[in-house]
Amino acid sequence: MNIELTDLTRRFGRTYAVAGVSMEAGPGVFGLLGPNGAGKTSLLRMMATVLPPTSGRMRLLGRDPGSHGPRREIRRRLGYLPQNLGYYPGFTVAEFVEYFALLKDMPPGRVPRAVAAAVEQVGLGDKAKAKLRTLSGGMLRRAGIAQAIVNDPELLLLDEPTAGLDPEQRVAFRAILRGLGERATVVVSTHLVEDVGAACSQVALMDAGKVVFDGTPGELIARGEGSGAAGDAPLERGYSAVLAAARSVPATRSAAGTQRGPETWA
């Protein structure tokens, strides 16, 4: 398993952003769905080793990120696209991707070819020498995806990767995801249910810091059948049905009945 989380929590003050999440994931594309404030970004930041958990156990790529050496090894094999991508406006696309390739400790001799491959993969070949400040939001997002995949990561964490992409780009991006998911674990946090249906083999739905559903897109669709839940598409109806069920039970229990928040959860 590339991701092993056991009763993971993250607290900010008295609020639990992540309240006892347990999950496992191997190679494949893993969708992380949920409303705003569900804890998706905090969970992703913990898996990106940017944010330490408050409690619980986490193993990534078979290593403990709490120790310096293993954490560095994880980071060499990690790709991460944060929700708010910062960039140097004066860098070109190729320079931006190269910068992170170097910070990922890639062997310098491999960097130019890896940069070219990543830039081509996201369809920015004709903009490789363009300054980032001249790019549209969707192009910047693709540059962010390029830096995430430049090291051919074994664990790829993408926070709202399709935000700002037009429909054609989203279709192309899902194809990239499916390709990457054949050999790596790809976790995609998104609001867009159709992205999950098209690209993900497994999906988790978070609400109020907890995983309230963990299964395949087909199983999520099944939850919505005959439930009368709102939604234009089968996956949306499943999403709505699971959320409605989760919110109708006491706060210490999840809809699936398998996740529990800590006693102090507020």
């Binding site: 080793t49 560095r72 910062g86 190269e98 910068y99 310098p108 070819r113």
Partner: protein, 239 residues
């Protein structure tokens, strides 16, 4: 047959060529960035191309900032020559403190969050950038004080206070995660010290020339350095 192992003798057919792979190789050469001499030297000294690249992107080492620093110190040297008051020595610690505070961190470095997930430690990036900013400011300040015709005690006297001001600015910036707070702490700390020196000794330069202050400055710098080190530790968290 792929682009790497192409047979140019004509025995292979063109359809065997992996054009995508060939294009990637061509693009890699066309888009390849040639590092400047400073970056190549830094990569050799630091034994890390990533760290060297992070060093040359330091916000307070970019050309505009360096020019501003030189202008301030040159103006200080000119005023010092005309008034006799060692303004360069009084300005230099504050200028260096501001440079250190603006070396790295959230709000200053746009890629800060992403950099935290990288194999090259962000603490190492901060350390290398801070040392480079300190070195550059020390060199520029020494040239400016020497050019202003100041006495030897004044020419070198501000280096130790500068260390303390830089450490204070760094500690405040890392603890508060705000470069502006770091600059404010460094500048106000130095202003208070200079004014206290004038009040107690009757000389504006007492904070620079009083040798009895060297040890307290160094002790203070060490304490601030420890605070900055602690503030930038990577929390173990639960595992």
């Amino acid at each position: 047959m792929t682009g790497e192992g192409m047979d140019w003798t004509g025995s292979g057919s063109p359809s065997d060529v992996d054009l995508g792979r060939v294009w990637t190789g061509v693009a890699a050469e066309v888009w390849r960035r040639r590092p400047g001499p400073a970056e190549r030297l830094a990569a050799r000294l630091l034994r890390s191309p990533g760290l060297a690249r992070a060093l040359v992107t330091t916000p307070s080492l970019l050309l505009g900032w360096v020019i501003a620093t030189v202008v301030v110190l040159a103006a200080g040297a000119a005023v010092t020559r005309s008034t006799g008051t060692p303004w360069v020595a009084l300005f230099a610690p504050a200028v260096a403190g501001a440079g250190i505070a603006y070396a790295y961190g959230p709000g200053i470095d746009p890629t800060w969050e992403l950099s935290q997930s990288m194999a090259v430690s962000d603490r190492m990036v901060l350390l290398v950038r801070a040392l480079a900013v300190f070195g550059l400011n020390a060199a520029a300040g020494l040239v400016a004080t020497a050019a202003s015709g100041a006495a030897a005690a004044v020419t070198f006297g501000w280096l130790v206070p500068m260390t303390a001001v830089c450490a204070l600015a760094l500690a405040a910036a890392t603890v508060s995660r705000s470069a502006n707070v770091g600059v404010a702490a460094g500048m106000s700390g130095w202003a208070i010290t200079v004014m206290a020196g004038q009040a107690s000794a009757g000389r504006l330069t007492a904070a620079i020339t009083d040798s009895s202050l060297v040890l307290p400055y160094l002790a203070f710098a060490a304490c601030c350095g420890a605070v900055a080190w602690y503030a930038t530790r990577i929390p173990r968290g639960a595992s």
